[in-house]
Symmetry: C2
Subunit: 421 residues, 2 copies
Amino acid sequence: MQTPRIVIVGAGFGGLQTAQSLANSGADVCLIDRHNYHTFVPLLYQVATSQLEPEYIAYPIRTIIRRFSGKRHQHKPKTRFLWAEVQRIDFKAQIVKTDRCAIAYDFLVLATGSKTQYLGVTGASEYAFPLRTLTEAVRLRNRILACLELASQESDPEIRQHLLTFTIVGGGATGVEIAGALIEMLRGKFRRDYPTLDLQQLRLIVIQSGDRLLAELPKKLGVYTYKRLTQLGVEVYLQTRVSQVTKESVHLQNHEIIPTATVIWTAGLEANSPQTPEEISTAKKGKFLVHPTLQLPEQPNVYAIGDLAYIEQNGKPLAGVAPVALQQGVTVARNIQQQLRGKSPKPFSYFNKGRLAIIGCYSGVGKIGNFAFTGFLPWVIWLGVHLVYLPGYRSRLLVLLTWLYTYLLGDRAVRLILPIY
Amino acid sequence: MQTPRIVIVGAGFGGLQTAQSLANSGADVCLIDRHNYHTFVPLLYQVATSQLEPEYIAYPIRTIIRRFSGKRHQHKPKTRFLWAEVQRIDFKAQIVKTDRCAIAYDFLVLATGSKTQYLGVTGASEYAFPLRTLTEAVRLRNRILACLELASQESDPEIRQHLLTFTIVGGGATGVEIAGALIEMLRGKFRRDYPTLDLQQLRLIVIQSGDRLLAELPKKLGVYTYKRLTQLGVEVYLQTRVSQVTKESVHLQNHEIIPTATVIWTAGLEANSPQTPEEISTAKKGKFLVHPTLQLPEQPNVYAIGDLAYIEQNGKPLAGVAPVALQQGVTVARNIQQQLRGKSPKPFSYFNKGRLAIIGCYSGVGKIGNFAFTGFLPWVIWLGVHLVYLPGYRSRLLVLLTWLYTYLLGDRAVRLILPIY
């Protein structure tokens, strides 16, 4: 029998885990991504808020592959990386077409993740800053620092006020984490670099459509987060919807207009689905419906995982978080090997270890099992968990050192407005 | 008497040193730069060759100012930073016009440095990669890594050969340092990330117009450098001039055509002179002629330093290196204070501590006084000197750790193709 060819599209949490779990399967594995690095998405907001350098949370895919492939395969590697953008997938011919070449597969794993969705709000895609990729994080950091520079040399108080108003749309984990990090940055030691800046004028606003923050966590945690952010000086608008974003302002559905130079968009996302000539059954947000085994209903040799896949457990859809994608990666690798042995794939079952979010220094919220807790403990667990899951010893060391610097000194290490054209 | 206003244009070595030397002068100092960071130019090539992160060699100007201003001036700082691009300088009205505002001065220090000059070679500005700014260094790094990616998935040997040919125009310190760093990177542990890459096809070419490398140093050092680079596998073309750069090749004046995907331009530079309505006497490369006191001949309250200024010592023009700019910064600060006290400015005198360049791991060349030496000693002195002059303890620690990693393990830490649009 010929060596089976497995193609994985996307090197996020799900795709990378699949590749790792298949490393010793004997199959020829090809991992495709449009970037040559894996982005550790949960820490993106720390890049945007001048805490971490972009390189600390971006890990070169080839280096990861080399490490898990081990030395045995050094001369005849079974896992290879292809830096390319997938253009179209032909299920009938079993071919993935990229901008560089076409690749035939026996099994296909789709792990293309999600992208920002602007929920039909006029002007949002033009003027709001999304935060899903490393480039977007650096761009947002540049914008925040540029606003501080411009405000500190501006004599007109109205323009200054405008430059110093930051509006975050979305009160989920990302929105809350950015808000907390940003207010601590601007009120901390960092501001000594801007002695002429009047922070009385600083406004930081979080707009949330639901009736509480962190809607996916128990109510108690949302209430705590609201209180904590408000204490820090953040204005939280609950049950408020944005109707329009312009270059200078955010319009709310209640006709209020907030003048703001910077709008950060964390409100919506949709599946980043690859193009296919065949019809694919989708759920809301364009997610691919999959069997409990994670196979596409019409294609038994094609799997979808992570943010791309829609799957329910105990009657509720699984959230688009890293642990789901990681566990699905393991399941898919096992299921493909089952199929290769002529056996049936097994259904995926998610083991929920809990959810955590941090608000600021020494303060977070978490839910592990039925236990919901707030304050220092979830904060320190959050840091520990992210440090352990971050790929690469070098990155871990650098992130740890930077966190010590950030949290012990209350300062920010990063301040560059690095030109990204 | 009113507090004198001193404006410094450019926060390179010269401008920053001037600001620091004037920190306790009692004058109002305004430092203008189009970036919010100081670039440690001598290490730019290490960013381009995947050794250092861009952030390690870029230091935020506001942080530097805060540090040397000390705590006394925290509430009423005497030195301020303006992030702006200078558009025009009006000597008669004593006003610097920027894209953000206009600033009046009593004394002006011009330290705008130099920019790449393509010596009239057709196509060079379009297709060659310069290396004068941080963005250019990251762009070159992206290009080198992208060539490796594309070559490792290319089946046509001719295209592969083309992608793996890197041509460096210019055999001065920058050209030599890039060549050595690049060949060591591609032949070192780094290449294990590209198991399918055939390094037999790698070509690294240095093109030098003169009859030896490092023309500004004693002949013996150029000969050593030639031998060392050749041993490492670099092809050095001496007494060769480039007539044209195209998207796919370099044309030489002897009609030879080298097919090459990447051309790195280190051959020429010219003064980056600010626009003025008045005529200014210039020397070659557009440099401003200055009195021995560094004043412009027609403007006793305007100084020019660093790469912008043309000045001779012992009948020979001073080279455009960091120590010259640093020492001129000290002199200018002293001369302005002399003028403020009603005394005459004193002539500048350059104390040459020596010149150093490194070729690769454990190998460099240097001239200190009349003593020219090669090998390990100048290499280790080079590292030490650059570490000491690099601003910021944090950057020093990170660079030191990275160098240990790079040189002890023979690997490269950086591998990201970070999208810069």
